[in-house]
């Protein structure tokens, strides 16, 4: 397995190769591409809770990110693609190599991929931070990685393709295997009780899970003409490992996603169901539905409902109840300067503290001082080129 540093080195080597290749290619169809996306936002909550890695009681100005995407086609059937990410939010500054892989396209129905590849999972799993492809600045929270359960990229190999089904339908399929490095996340667990006060004591640790012996697949039925996209994904991991010393024990785990999307003219609607379950019986369930409408050419309104819940085994009490559930209703008013640049004003009414939490959420939840209703404001701009 390559470490993070090695992946970055590989990415730099790839970028250098592409820059060289750009000089040497002929002046016909372009065999390279350089594109990118980014965003900035101000985020604030109306109580002591923090929400979505980018909003705080005081207001967060340092929410920005930028990604560069490069592609090269050294041979007719061979493509190499990579995407590097720089960003800053409440988790601090981060750089990441989202993916780097080689693809051999035997035909439109059969493409082989090897490397670090984005997991074909939910509607947004391959376009996480591309804000010009969605009405809300923030992703639905089950994507946002605050729970660390989002399979973002896998290291390994896979096949993909989109054979036609009749005149206007196609079947998009993916099958893949390898291992998944999950997003890092914070975990608050009761570690004991203070003998003086009788109150529980908590520890907060940053965890990052690795899913090994992973196989997965996705099937989508798509009609670009009708604007319909429906399907689902399954991922099985033989063993999900936590770092040494971590209290987390997962064992094998399965992830499921069902999704549907309709986009026609100014109207779009989408809904997704997501479930993660471990062999011990713990897991996560999440559902969201969203609708948006464009009017007066440049304006867009959108509404979103999301419900998420951590599933615990019977008798499991290490996570206080308010921290196990999330429900939110969001509204958006956006101004699209162009398809590549959008200004967004988003608001959420959040209930539950799975994702909207104060600084010491465990103790606040046990003491009953945690605010279970949170208002969130996000004002930002997102672009792509």
């Amino acid at each position: 397995m390559l470490g993070r540093g090695r992946w970055r080195t590989c990415a730099i080597a790839l970028l250098a190769t592409l820059a060289w290749s750009q000089c040497s290619w002929a002046q016909e169809a372009p065999r390279y591409s350089l594109q990118g996306f980014g965003g900035w936002a101000y985020g604030k909550t109306d109580n002591d809770n923090f929400f979505g890695n980018g909003t705080s009681p005081e207001g967060v100005w340092d929410n920005y990110y930028f990604a560069l995407n490069v592609g090269a086609k050294p041979m007719e059937k061979l493509s190499i693609r990579a995407q590097a990410y720089w960003g800053d939010d409440l988790r601090g500054q981060r750089t990441n190599l989202d993916y780097v892989f080689a693809e051999w396209a035997q035909s439109g129905s059969l493409k082989l991929r090897v490397g670090k590849v984005l997991v074909p999972f939910g509607l947004h799993s391959e376009t996480y931070d591309v804000g010009t492809l969605r009405p809300f600045y923030l992703l639905p929270q089950f994507y946002a990685g605050t729970l660390g359960l989002i399979p973002k990229a896998y290291l390994g190999g896979g096949v993909t393709g989109a054979p036609r089904l009749g005149e206007s339908w196609e079947l998009q399929y993916d099958a893949f295997g390898g291992q998944i490095e999950f997003e890092p996340f914070f975990l608050d667990l009761i570690t004991g009780f203070d003998p003086a006060t009788g109150l529980p004591t908590f520890s907060r640790t940053q965890e990052q899970l690795v899913g090994r012996d992973m196989i997965g697949g996705r099937l989508l039925l798509v009609s670009p003409e009708r604007g319909i996209d429906i399907g689902g994904s399954i991922i099985h991991m033989g063993n999900v490992e936590a770092p040494e010393g971590s209290p987390i024990e997962v064992g094998s785990a399965d992830f499921y996603n069902l999704r549907g999307q309709y986009q026609k003219g100014p109207f779009a609607a989408r809904a997704e169901f997501f479930k993660a379950s471990s062999e011990r019986g713990e897991g996560l369930e999440s559902f969201y539905a969203e609708a948006s409408y464009r009017f007066l050419k440049k304006w867009q309104v959108a509404a979103q409902y999301e419900h998420s819940e951590i599933l615990l085994t019977d008798g499991e009490t290490s996570i206080p109840e308010p921290l196990t559930r999330h429900e939110s209703f969001g509204l958006a008013l956006n101004f699209w300067v162009s398809p590549e640049f959008v200004l967004k004003l988003n608001g959420y009414a959040v209930e539950g503290n799975m994702l909207a939490q104060p600084k010491n959420p465990g103790l606040a939840a046990v003491l009953g001082t945690i605010d279970q209703k949170t208002g969130v404001l996000v004002l930002g701009a997102q672009f792509s080129f």
């Binding site: 391959e126 376009t127 010009t132």
Partner: protein, 145 residues
């Protein structure tokens, strides 16, 4: 009198230009391929798949090289609505999804009819579209079924 004549002539020339522009807009677009390409007609769904790069080769086996025009051009707007049944912005969003998910890259974009004509003339597998008034000498205009 001479000045008046010039004014009338200018007015007539301007009106003619406006009429020409209007006719040009009504003509919409024409789909063109290289002269060596045996294809003479295509269905709209086939055209859409060619420009979305879902069909990678011609019946002869030659690779398809589609070329687009600028998103804001009237010819692209007309082409998108007619062939893809979507506006040009929706097609831009489609390509954003393809690019950033690492699945594909959009066709090259040319800034004028002349650039598209030149690209199609010199690339045997090329297919493009130009405005109805463009001079299509040296390329083949494909009928749309």
């Amino acid at each position: 009198m001479k000045t008046c004549g010039r004014t009338i002539a200018s007015f007539l020339l301007g009106a003619a230009a406006l009429v020409g522009a209007s006719a040009h807009a009504q003509d919409g677009f024409r789909v063109i391929v290289n002269l060596a390409n045996p294809v003479t007609s295509l269905r709209e769904t086939e055209l859409s798949r060619l420009f979305l790069k879902k069909t990678a080769s011609w019946p002869t086996g030659a690779p398809v090289a589609a070329v687009d025009q600028e998103r804001t051009s009237s010819v692209r707007r007309a082409f998108s609505l007619e062939v893809h049944s979507k506006d040009a912005d929706a097609i831009v969003a489609h390509w954003q999804t393809m690019v950033f998910s690492g699945r594909d890259t959009p066709p090259p974009v040319k800034t004028s009819d002349a650039s598209v004509l030149e690209f199609v003339r010199v690339n045997p597998g090329a297919i493009g579209y130009v405005s109805g008034a463009a001079d299509t000498a040296g390329v083949k205009v494909v009928a749309i079924r």
